[in-house]
Symmetry: D2
Subunit: 388 residues, 4 copies
Amino acid sequence: MADRVGVGLVSVGWMGRLHSRAYLAARHHFPELPLRPELVVAADPDAGGRAYATDVLGYGEAVADHRDLIGRDDVDVVSICSPNFLHREIALAAIAAGKPFWIEKPMGRGATESGEIARAAAERGIVNAVGFNYRHAPAVAKARELVHAGALGRITNVRVSLLADYSSDPAGALTWRFRRDRAVSGVLGDLLSHGVDLVQHVVGRIARVSALTETFIRERPLPAAGAASHFSRGNEGGPAGTVENEDYAAVLARLDDGVAAVLESSRVAIGPRAEYGLEVYGTKGSLRWDFQRMNELRLADDASGYRTIMAGPGFGHFERFQPGAGTSMGFDDLKTIEAAQFLASVAEGRQLAPSAADAWSAASVVDAALESAASGRWIDIRALEPDA
Amino acid sequence: MADRVGVGLVSVGWMGRLHSRAYLAARHHFPELPLRPELVVAADPDAGGRAYATDVLGYGEAVADHRDLIGRDDVDVVSICSPNFLHREIALAAIAAGKPFWIEKPMGRGATESGEIARAAAERGIVNAVGFNYRHAPAVAKARELVHAGALGRITNVRVSLLADYSSDPAGALTWRFRRDRAVSGVLGDLLSHGVDLVQHVVGRIARVSALTETFIRERPLPAAGAASHFSRGNEGGPAGTVENEDYAAVLARLDDGVAAVLESSRVAIGPRAEYGLEVYGTKGSLRWDFQRMNELRLADDASGYRTIMAGPGFGHFERFQPGAGTSMGFDDLKTIEAAQFLASVAEGRQLAPSAADAWSAASVVDAALESAASGRWIDIRALEPDA
Amino acid sequence: MADRVGVGLVSVGWMGRLHSRAYLAARHHFPELPLRPELVVAADPDAGGRAYATDVLGYGEAVADHRDLIGRDDVDVVSICSPNFLHREIALAAIAAGKPFWIEKPMGRGATESGEIARAAAERGIVNAVGFNYRHAPAVAKARELVHAGALGRITNVRVSLLADYSSDPAGALTWRFRRDRAVSGVLGDLLSHGVDLVQHVVGRIARVSALTETFIRERPLPAAGAASHFSRGNEGGPAGTVENEDYAAVLARLDDGVAAVLESSRVAIGPRAEYGLEVYGTKGSLRWDFQRMNELRLADDASGYRTIMAGPGFGHFERFQPGAGTSMGFDDLKTIEAAQFLASVAEGRQLAPSAADAWSAASVVDAALESAASGRWIDIRALEPDA
Amino acid sequence: MADRVGVGLVSVGWMGRLHSRAYLAARHHFPELPLRPELVVAADPDAGGRAYATDVLGYGEAVADHRDLIGRDDVDVVSICSPNFLHREIALAAIAAGKPFWIEKPMGRGATESGEIARAAAERGIVNAVGFNYRHAPAVAKARELVHAGALGRITNVRVSLLADYSSDPAGALTWRFRRDRAVSGVLGDLLSHGVDLVQHVVGRIARVSALTETFIRERPLPAAGAASHFSRGNEGGPAGTVENEDYAAVLARLDDGVAAVLESSRVAIGPRAEYGLEVYGTKGSLRWDFQRMNELRLADDASGYRTIMAGPGFGHFERFQPGAGTSMGFDDLKTIEAAQFLASVAEGRQLAPSAADAWSAASVVDAALESAASGRWIDIRALEPDA
């Protein structure tokens, strides 16, 4: 029989809802998990969020302040889905309380906060999971497997390009995401960090970067109270404020073993909706993946061109979700896999999911890119401390 | 507060599991539903299926015989996911017991059984839902909306093509699907019926057909006991039997208003995995959709070419699942929509989902296609009776 | 040294110009040809056409009447690019004069005229070429080679779909193409005949058909004098006339060896511009080609999906035109190959190019489709006479 | 009547043949040109090349040494298609002789030689053309027109990616292209220079770069005598030598007006054959083009996604080649446009085609990229001298 594990959720936005559903779905798709999550308590300053938690998500209780949640005896694990600038405080509290946590990315404000969290978790031996969802796409799992099996030969170069339009409307509100004190970076932390993680997960560690950043939309209307989503619009005709971080970044990189990489990201592209592409080239072939067609992998394993392969049995955890290739998994399924990896980490006491250390590593690359863009120089990524 | 509705499930295969998860998911994505499904009892002759129902799906109880399920007081609605040849008996029992039912397709063995079920449901006023999943894809909902709003002008012709490889391996077992007494038709009922429903849902009623059918793989190995899935393999080296129904069908059709249609389907194609495509042409434009890329709609609303539009807010129920275009819904989400429509039908006492009458209509087209293929003549579709 | 061959051209429209350029280009791409074409004389009733022939194309002379061309001693071969309804007279004159001819399609008005031409050519032993251009695409040549080598296993079914928008504008003029006495059929002869030829060239002879045809735009403005192209517009505000042949056709077919086929064509589709697609399915794989991306072949030679292969060396005559895959051949290059095959036929005295007999065969299928659409019955294709 | 213009060709390889055919084709597609090219003399040290020139291309004469060609009275213009390292000498000779020249790219060995040629041509007022073929694709012409008309709003960022496999085979010979003294750069000059020109032609001048380069295949077999093509293979089992220039380059760039750019190129990619892509993003939309599908333009002019537009009338010079969208132009047609622009420049005495100054500009960017890759610093592009 599976043991009950009590879930405490901080923040009932898109990601908080998704974490909650993923906990419930995990037992259907990973029935061997020895833990059965119970949605115990959700924290949200907003009454609507709290009502949603109890009435729709099925939490037993909801509170306004996350500080009333973490220490509770019936809370065994914590999902941290608050705005980024609160992550450090909440994560450190969870670690202090000895509670495994599942945290959305970017994990902290920059490498400093991310490092604090990662080191504290490592010191206390607290397992965790970070929301690098794209890793979990079965086609990405297959891509990593192919790369590691040498199907592409020696890897020569990598390209990730994360182009989104979520901030392309100049009438979009100047939420916390555009403020340096709250979010530090813009698209680098919000999107490109995913690309950094994909490169590091599929190919290897990024060692050095040269970057260029730009803010294309320099002013935005101030937000209505509470506006926080990627799609919130500003007060029409109201006052505007300055966008303090980058809309766009392009990064040249070198990996540890000489592999070259180009990473690019925009939050103001018009045309791509959520085109998060990964391309890996080697001496024997190449592969391509795009989040918009997340169930497809394009593979050239000889010189004759790309084969479009639909994810199917043998691709990561595909078989747990669908019976045959061609039937699509959805984005939420990736979070179910993430939940399952987190729960398995908790059950086994060893880190299985993308971890705080991975998030710290990605944040270090992002910080180095910011530094490079400011200085015009190549920047080495500071090696993570040995225990992280 | 939502009222409890007790669910009884017949058959714990792929579809039975999916129905079960969809009932649970419905309340997350359709929180306004006044009914809260409770998984009461599942019936399956196989002990493994029964264990899965209670241990993984969360049914309170499991029984071997569906006859011990339908009449129970704590069962308010019935999900019928058994092999096709048992549908009639179970559906008529549910109707007799006054229980709304959600049934997979093809609903009956041919139009005769389908008509029996549809008429019985109509006579008794029992709401129901039929698993014409593809209707629920937000891009298909948008396609229908565009067609009905005249965005393509007057519709001239339609094409559906459902190409799958699930029976392409000659070593695939001769399950009930290949037997005339069990399944009647082959790919016509199993796949092309979806295409018929899509045409009728998006454009209009099919009035006449001329068809060609063919069985390309004429012998298959006999199945191991219990083998029933699309992907079961036969006993290697064991005896073979004759495939009794068609692997492939091509159909010319006329719709009520003179629209021309071509429908084609194969279960033995190699290359397409589950390429279920719909194309609608009109005097002002055309659109295309393919299940393999179910989150995309290709629209030509002027002469300059196709725009690839990612499903997003404004496309059917997309917004209930994902926050923005580019983030993929999965196949299971379509069943969640189906569950919600079924539950809403039950709550409101009026038919909202694709119904038994729709399934009867599709079966009539399938039967006419079989008759045409046998006789070499155009066959008129018999109009459904007024009360169906 | 290559012998001089004098070319006489009938009609200086798009195709006449293209034939002329193709003769000149042939010696560059097929330098081993023992004949060197010389553009001797062009016939066109229009003075502008005659001026273009001499001033731009480089003909030595131009005449108004084709009857002043065919018999000339310095004319060794004749290119027949006139409107379709004049083909019979001109072709028979060329045959009577013992002159090899290269004729555009549809060759005659229906199978009757086509048969007259083909039989006359056969009786007199006059080599010829018919403008079934798409055969010459290197990717189609490769497709045929793969099919014949068994790379797809036993062929099960074929699909061709020729969707164009050239008549989609209701303001397009009612040229001869829309008149039964001039063109007989509409899209069947103009486009679908290409599809018939592709099926027969790549897979095998069509034996029986069941067809549906429709005219979606039933009236068009009368043309200005001389309007003859696919894109001519009618007199605005002027009188309209009745379209006498079909805009759309869909055909079910059986090939000699039991292969099933679906052929579909529209001249009024909006979205596709010139989407002429061929798909061949077999027991081991399938392939797809589309004229709009004529340098690509999509091949599934196992169950894992389609590989997009750029035409390159080893694909038909590709190597004569471009040095490597990825660099595109154009449509005109296909006519250069056609010219070269015609000239090689002339030089060797044996039929190498798609021939009058092929055109007669395609016309027989077209006629059978018209008969089937009118009668609602399956129609057997009359076998061609042995000497054709 | 058009005046005769005598053509002298230096080097009868792929490009020399293509120039020759393009001169002949130009009069068909640009009949208004007041010059009629006559192929007078070709120079090639190889007897086979000379024979091809006279026997196939139709030159009146062929000589071994280009020095016996440039000064001839009957040579009015010179096509320079020799290996890159001879360009400077030949171009300066043509300029000294007052002969307009059409030269392949990269024009010189680096910016130094390119600048010498460009300055000399400017000083002497000699019109010229440089083989930046991709500019001439009608879809690229349309892209430029859309960008300049503001259809994409204010341009924010650009991406070009030129991925080819022509050197991906490690058995490919170590021809002059891989030697620093002969070719200077590798893929930067050979391919990325095209990308630089596309960016500068469609959007604007590149001002600064930060680059990374890498040689992935460090040794190659020595070539057989005369091996010079992109596809020559080395002597099997023979001695190998060191590849002296880069297989891969990635470049961050800033344009004059703050536009960001990423340029990337590989000659050893496996999968893409000749994938030369251009993407332009602006505040109102974006567009994409790829040489492999050179007749298509993908345009997002609102937020709903990309429309795939087939090149057609209204796209550059498309109408001179094909009657309607969907019928493909080929690569050679781009050279015909280039020839016509060169001839028009000669006739009008003003520079119309991509010029030596454009080539110098591209070479300056390439040189800056090499310098950046070596130094790890951002490098400003030296402004061209005013008279260039």
